[in-house]
Every structure is written in structure tokens, then in C-alpha cells.
Symmetry: C2
Subunit: 240 residues, 2 copies
DNA sequence: CGGTCTTTCTTGGGATACCGAAATGGGATA
DNA sequence: TATCCCATTTCGGTATCCCAAGAAAGACCG
């Protein structure tokens, strides 16, 4: 905070949670990064964050260290920057997701309760054609995490959640057409349908195809719009 | 540091790397945790760490936040504790590793160069029967990470490295017999052999079997020695 | 006018001051 | 003696302060 005209040491009025300020700042900053509110590659100074979040450097640095662990923020020399988007990761990410998600749906077939499955169905239902883009984006991410959750394996859940986070910003850059949205929606439905029907092989095949399709759609869209991306000034690297 | 008889503000003599103290503390603390130098569940006070590492709370807190991200340290209310060992994770961990490592060895068959494979072979060779226990422990972990590296997929590498870290402490608790050591060694050899021979199916089968075997060996040993574990006072939970 | 040296400013890394809450530890009391 | 209460300490959370290094901005010289 400012060093002049400063009100004498004012200590926070004791929130109920530990490190509450740090957690708040972490969440907000995370959201700003994932929503592209802060551009990939953008420099973050602790002092700017201080004024932006009206907290002192201590909780801000803690939040930055934490975000560094999530690879949403990175060091550039001794500076902090928002992690750039590396579109070269997209293939590796799909390659990583396929074995995990096929395993997840297989396990889900064996373990998921009717109620759990119904919960995911509801989530899909809640996002109809007219829904705003944010909604589609969120559900498109959460679906995969929720499916992973049906597997009952926390390591799979965490890995998938991490992968979807890494994918999130690239997905914002995609130019979404109505047909592609529709296709994704149908594929999600189909995967869930096979889980409900306890058909692990079909579910796994469908999941793998979906990941591949999505990757291709994304890469195609980004390649076509490459000029647009640069124009928007994003530090986007790695697209071959 | 102490509040009495304190030498006036002494500022660190400028290391070359940014946040060097934090990184040093992080590494040392990490090592102490993984080697069971600090018992699972043990309370860590920032002030104790201060004197232990002769640094101030700032870098120590950064190291703790970072370790929290690796789940080696955790909050308990507003205290810090060394993450307990949860032996209930062992099954889920194996379930997680199998699809990833089978994928890794398949990819390795397609992508690994002779030189890379030779590097891993050397690592195995360097650890002969007479080697100290630490050596076996390290190689037993690193082998899997190095195999993952042969896949060329950084996400797989990171996931496997994380899984092996999570497994590391449980492996220290295992009572290692000469035959089991031998078996693990043979299995590692075999996996690498199939990769060298570009036989993905056999490599994948072998890798999956190895993970299963290792899990069973570990669970059996821990079950038999459960009394011993408690006697040693470890905060070990989750063994059914 | 361009290049270079110097001064200044800014930033991150680290140390410490201070607060409130929780833990601790005696004694006093029933 | 068991229990409760309050003084004291300890601890984590936060704010601020100090330092060194490097970047930016001038100042100076050829």
C-alpha cells in the first residue's frame, strides 16, 4: 500500500479463516488470469497488485507463490508474469488426457451411483443453447472434471482438473461456431449415456474420440484465426 | 529469529538466484519430510523453522506455501503440519499410475532414442546389490520418472513424478527383503528391455504388472508390520 | 548527434514490528 | 484433589521497513 499519508498500522479485523486475504487474492487473481482479464505474458508487479487488491505484499506474495505452483504465474528473471499460453501443449495435453479419461469413464461405469450420474446430467441440462458463452465454457470444463469424479479416484480428478485448467485459456481464444458447440454437447451426452448404460468399452471409445475431436477443432480454429490472435496482442506461443 | 541479543538488521549477502533462500529452505524441508526426518503429522511452527534454517519468516512462509502446493505440508486449523501418510491412497495411486505408465512406455517405444534408453540403463546399472538403502529407494523412484520422460510428454512426466513423491514415504516404511528388491530390479530391467526392443504391448503389460506387484508387496509388508509402524509413532492412517 | 557513464527510481527478497487468537500454565476455589 | 479462571506466552497473519540489483532516465563527452 502507499507509503505516504498512510493511516497508522491497521491490522485486519480478524477474519474467520486462516490466511483469508491470501486466499481471496489468490482466487481473484486466478480468475483474472483464466478469464484473460490479465493477458498471457503480462508483467505483474507486487506493488501494482498491492494497490489493486488493497492488501500488503505479504498475502500477495503468498498468493503468487501459490499460483506459481499451479503454473498460472511464472518468474521471468526476478519479475512475475502471467504464464503465457503455449499452444504447443495442446497435443501433449490430449495425449495425457486420453488414458486418464478413458480410465475414468471405465471406473465410473463400475462405481458411479445413479444419483451421481443424475447430478452430471443436470449440469448438462442447465446449459441450453441460449446460455451465455461463459456458461458453455464453464460446463465444457466442469463436465470432464465431474466425470473424473465419478471414477472415485482423487488422483485422476486432480490431474484432469489441472489439465482442464491448462486448457481453459486456449478455449477462450477459440472461435466457437454453433455446430461445434452442438457437436461437443452431443458427445458429452453420449459419454454420459454409455456410463449410465454401464458400457465401459463404448464409453472409453467415445471419450477418447471426444478428446481427439475437441483438440482438432481447437487447433483448426486457432490456426485459422492466428492473425486475429496476434492482433489481440496475446503472448501466444508454440502453434506450429 | 530471536528477539533478544539480536544483531542489528543483517541483510542477506545477495545470492545469485532470485528467492534463493526460499528455494534452499524449500529443498531442505522437502528432503527432511521425504526422508521421514520430520514425522508425518508433526507440527511445524514458523518460529522453529526460523531458528532451524536461520532465515526469517518471509522465505520460510514462501517455502511452506510452495510445499503446501506439493501436498507435503498441510494446514491444520491455523497450524502447519507435515502431511500425514495416508496408506489408503496406495490403491488409488496404483490405479492412477497404470494408465499413465502404460501410455508412457508405449510412447517411449515410439519415441525414445537409443541414447536416452542407455541413460536409464546406466542408472539401473549404477545401483548394484551392495548399494545402500537410500540408493535403492532413489533409483526405484527415479526409474519411473525417467521412463515417463522417455515418453516425451511433460504432463505425463509431471504426473508420475508427483505420484512417486506421494509414494516415497510409504516406501521408506516398507520392510525390504532381498528377494523383493531383486524382483523389482528384474521387473525394471524387463520393462526397459521391451522398450529397447520396441515392443509396446509387452512393455505396457509388464509395466502394469509391475505397478500391481509393487502395490501388493507394499501393502503386504505394511500390514504385517502395522504394529511396528505404530510403535515408531508415525501418523499413518488409512490402512484397512 | 550518438554513445556511454552516472544517477535515480523501482522492484523483488528479506527482516522485523505488531496484532489478535489460541494455547499454556499456575494458582485459587469449591 | 479436580476444576475453573485469568495472566502470560506463543503463534500465525499482516503491514512495514531495509537492502541490493537492475532498469530507466539523465547528464556528459567525444
Amino acid at each position: 500500500m502507499g507509503y505516504l499519508f498512510k493511516v497508522p498500522p491497521f491490522h485486519a479485523p480478524a477474519r474467520d479463516l486462516p490466511m483469508s486475504q491470501m486466499l481471496q487474492i489468490h482466487d481473484q487473481l486466478r480468475e483474472m488470469i483464466l478469464s484473460l482479464d490479465l493477458g498471457p505474458g503480462e508483467r505483474l508487479t507486487e506493488r501494482w497488485l498491492e494497490s489493486r487488491f488493497e492488501g500488503s505484499r505479504t498475502p500477495i506474495r503468498a498468493a503468487l507463490v501459490r499460483l506459481e505452483g499451479e503454473e498460472l504465474v511464472r518468474r521471468d528473471g526476478r519479475n512475475w508474469i502471467v504464464a503465457p499460453i503455449d499452444l504447443g501443449e495442446l497435443e501433449a495435453l490430449a495425449e495425457f488426457r486420453i488414458p486418464l479419461e478413458t480410465t475414468a469413464v471405465r471406473l465410473a461405469c463400475a462405481r458411479a451411483s445413479e444419483a451421481d450420474i443424475a447430478g452430471v446430467e443436470e449440469m448438462l441440462d442447465a446449459c441450453q443453447s441460449g446460455a451465455p458463452r461463459e456458461e458453455w465454457h464453464r460446463v465444457g470444463t466442469d463436465f470432464h472434471v465431474e466425470i473424473a469424479r465419478l471414477s472415485g479416484n482423487p488422483f485422476i480428478v486432480k490431474a484432469i482438473a489441472g489439465a482442464m485448467t491448462r486448457l481453459s485459456r486456449a478455449r477462450w481464444l477459440e472461435v466457437w461456431t454453433e455446430p461445434s458447440r452442438e457437436q461437443a454437447w452431443r458427445e458429452h451426452r453420449r459419454i454420459l449415456g454409455f456410463i449410465k448404460a454401464k458400457d465401459p468399452d463404448s464409453a472409453a471409445r467415445e471419450a477418447a474420440d471426444h478428446i481427439t475431436d475437441t483438440r482438432d477443432r481447437l487447433l483448426r480454429s486457432l490456426n485459422e484465426d492466428r492473425r486475429g490472435l496476434r492482433a489481440r496482442g496475446f503472448a501466444v506461443i508454440g502453434l506450429r
